[in-house]
Symmetry: C2
């Protein structure tokens, strides 16, 4: 079998904007978490459950990036959390400049934690530093256990991997141990939390990590 | 809730290359089908089943586009079908120029039908005409029934929508009728086939469409 390489340069002009944005957020004591995944992996469902579980303890806001629709921001707003919908005009990822533009329009007063729900895409968002303090990614069980082999960059760039929809593990050929091994081979320092936002299984470990990041003052790092 | 628009130009310089490539394929009587979907929706599994079902009647080849790995082309080759692995060097989609480069390296002698398995991504591939005669997309049940609302372009650009993994419908909140209605609202002429490559349910209608496209001489259109 023949294999051919089509090399394309990837822009890195975004990195300086990201450093400035991150420093500015740290100064104001706001922790920004960039949440990435393929379309359909359940980012909004995971966020909704997290907000419901933590809202008495942590003031959480959400910036919902999407190509065109408002369905995700409406879901978050229905939970009583502050949210803003960002339309990327067809663009397949958020970068630091776009994140800064969205932040300039968003009232972050009294917020402890701000999620950027990136565009649903397992590839492009991993290439652009958004200025967030932490990158968190989702791999849902139905997507398959070969994803770390096929889309390594996002696994390499993430601080946390949430393996979601674990409630449907019995119905899919998904080898959880194999995924962990593949991911840790790419990124030995990543934290891995298998969760089901539907049943609540595993959510406590993920939420403890979030609260630990807040109390450790990650935003001031 | 506030909504802000971040407009970005989308390149269209690719269209002329695509027309030339399509004309050249038509001249040689080879039908090229561009298969698109999010990562993890089961493109390779669907193709593998299709090849197994049709290989006595149709000579099928596959160009597997991926960021870096060879796992999909190896799966296809194991079925005895001719395949080539295209590494996009991190690029999140195939365009007509890249498709032409891959074709130049691929022996298409005696092939009736060639699939381009595009990079797993529900967004960017829809923006680039690859030169294919038909666009076919996959939406798998676990991805959710809101995808036509959130990623409308691919649904608008596709001739066929395969709704896959229907065997797990009982385990997900997925309203098949709502999806059909949303998709037909975006694209009234799209053909929709619900299928399970695992059980074989619905594969006959999709395969009949493929054979119909071949015998109607779509490649010569």
């Amino acid at each position: 079998m023949k294999t051919i390489e089509l090399n394309q340069p990837v822009t890195a002009a975004n990195d300086k904007d990201a450093e400035l944005l991150r420093a500015s957020l740290s100064d104001s004591g706001l922790l920004l978490i960039n949440l990435m995944s393929a379309a359909g992996s359940g980012k909004t469902t995971l966020l909704s459950r997290t907000i419901r579980d933590l809202k008495e303890k942590v003031n959480i806001g959400v910036m919902e990036a999407d190509l065109a629709s408002d369905v995700d921001a409406l879901s978050i707003e229905a939970l009583g959390a502050r949210s803003i919908q960002v339309h990327t005009g067809g663009c397949c990822h958020m970068d630091a400049f776009m994140t800064g533009e969205a932040l300039a329009e968003f009232d972050t007063t009294d917020l402890d934690l701000l999620f950027l729900e990136n565009v649903g895409n397992l590839i492009c968002p991993a290439e652009y530093d958004t200025g967030a303090h932490k990158n968190v990614m989702i791999l849902s069980v139905p997507e398959g256990d070969d994803k770390p082999l096929k889309y390594p960059l996002m696994f390499e760039k993430s601080d946390v991997l949430l393996i979601t929809k674990t409630d449907v593990l019995p119905y899919f050929d998904f080898d959880l141990d194999a995924v962990k091994e593949r991911v840790l081979h790419l990124n030995p320092s990543i934290r891995i939390f298998p969760v089901s936002a539907k049943t609540g299984d595993g959510m406590d470990a993920w939420e403890a990590w979030l609260q630990g990041s807040l109390s450790a003052g990650e935003a001031h790092a």
